[in-house]
Symmetry: C2
């Protein structure tokens, strides 16, 4: 099988990562963290979320943070936006891209966005329509594409149906999320076999979680099937909300290590990524789950 | 690709795992740990090593421990034996199987067993010849089969040459070790393509380390190529000696989770395995790197 020659990593640490940390960082620390990330060679950083600050206090300073984002010509910042109000904020701060949440599981959808999947899709269409009119690119972050923490296995056909519906909306990227990290490479193969007959690989991103240690195996499976966009979180920040102490988002460094060893170009410096992640660990005040970050003293194969 | 319908896990936590822990356990705690492991359904446990006690104080009580091993008819205990003196101890305690170390890298061989690879192979032949004469089965644990911490990449041809030499010795199992955990699935594919034209898959075990988070991806690659024996360490005990704090041997629970989700039978209870690993974590007094062990409170897909 042929692997892609290049891959793109969407850094979700400042948003999805910090959202799941208990400790609330200062705006200054977040801005410093994003400055370090912006210097790594990353092209896409999901930097803020315009959410209800009472529900997600970790990200309540989105306006202040948005105003402090470093201008780095190579980096595109994405704002996470669940509704029209969030879109208004994203427009105010001139974000070139937004990510909109969607769930593939009914129960997870109701528990997180308090809407059915159908209602959520309708809302997504409104937000996306307005955003596209404003020249803002759309990324959809689909959660529970394999296993729902409440319902169990999610039918791949359901995910494929949602993905097709999003195509017609005009989205730039569909992020396929394994929210609780329970998928195996076999599950990735099954779902991607369904998706790739209808959706170009270039529109698909994979959002893997390392809760059960499967993230890199799943990444390799997706790479072999031609997918080249992956969500990562610096240091693996953001634990699994369903298993305190367990890993959440796959660590960006772990993805980078795999890509480097496979000869897949990302344009990102592993050393600068380590520096950003070590800073995140220091300001959060606890060890991060990233494998590669712990190997700083090891002899590193080049 | 077809996956094996069954897989066998060789539990190496009490030997390879504890050897790399700083804290020296009491013989009673080790015996209790092995009792818990013996109750999980595991068929093979590498329980002791007959080494120089001054060099490896963690395993210095091998004689006492060997005398306390629980009699479990389903479990076969293996003793790690680097020389004829070790073999004498293994015979004294009636071990049905021994594992003998070998390195694929010259520098690693000299630094660990103070012999060249050629000298080590000669020693292995003497030990194995005597053991086979006594009806003891032989496992060879080959280290640095992909990357040497001193020399860098190891030529797959060198590993294949060693494996072929061992075939003629009459070994039961050759464990292919990724000692520093730096191999990717692509490296596994390359080496196994070389090995499997000359060596039956049933003679090969894979010893993966999760130092860089690659172990499960590598396991899945080997499974797809027909290999069905994997070394695991309960809880992932035994850090990487070349990177303090980093993971070493892949956690047995992480392997089990993958196998269960792929429908591959092992005969091992994940819940009983978790119990044994939690005990190991408690007596060692620190969190273990296993992913699955940290998910005890998560909703677990069955």
């Amino acid at each position: 099988m042929t692997l892609p020659r290049t891959a793109r990593i969407v850094e979700v640490g400042p948003r999805s990562g910090l959202q799941n940390e208990n400790y609330v960082l200062t705006t200054e620390d977040k801005a410093a963290f994003i400055r370090l990330l912006s210097a790594t060679g990353l092209q896409d950083i999901e930097a803020v979320a315009f959410l209800n600050p009472r529900i997600v206090p970790q990200l309540a300073d989105a306006d202040e943070l948005a105003a402090q984002l470093p201008q780095a010509s190579r980096v595109r910042y994405t704002a996470h936006v669940p509704d029209m109000d969030g879109l208004a904020h994203a427009m105010e701060f001139g974000f070139p891209r937004i990510s909109i949440p969607l769930s593939a599981s009914e129960t997870y959808s109701r528990k997180t966005v308090h809407m059915s999947v159908g209602e959520s899709l309708t809302a997504l269409r409104s937000i996306a329509g307005r955003a596209i009119h404003e020249g803002i690119a759309i990324r959809v972050s689909v959660s529970t594409c394999f296993v729902c923490p409440y319902e169990g296995p999610v039918a791949p056909e359901k995910v494929a149906e949602l993905a097709l519906a999003m195509l017609s909306v005009g989205v730039e990227e569909i992020s396929i999320g394994d929210t609780i990290g329970a998928a195996t490479p076999r599950d990735i193969e099954t779902l991607l076999n369904l998706l790739l007959v209808r959706i170009p690989a270039g529109l698909l991103a994979m959002n893997f979680h390392d809760t059960y240690g499967m993230a890199i195996a799943n990444t390799y499976q997706a790479l072999q099937m031609g997918v080249g966009i992956f969500d990562g979180s610096a240091g693996g920040i953001g634990s699994c909300p369903f298993a305190p102490g367990a890993a959440g988002n796959v660590a960006t460094e772990d993805l980078l290590f795999l890509f480097q060893r496979l000869g897949i170009e990302t344009g990102i410096s592993l050393n600068l990524m380590r520096r950003a992640s070590r800073f995140a660990g220091a300001i959060l005040g606890h060890p991060l789950p990233s494998h590669v970050l712990k190997t700083a003293t090891a002899q590193e194969p080049s």
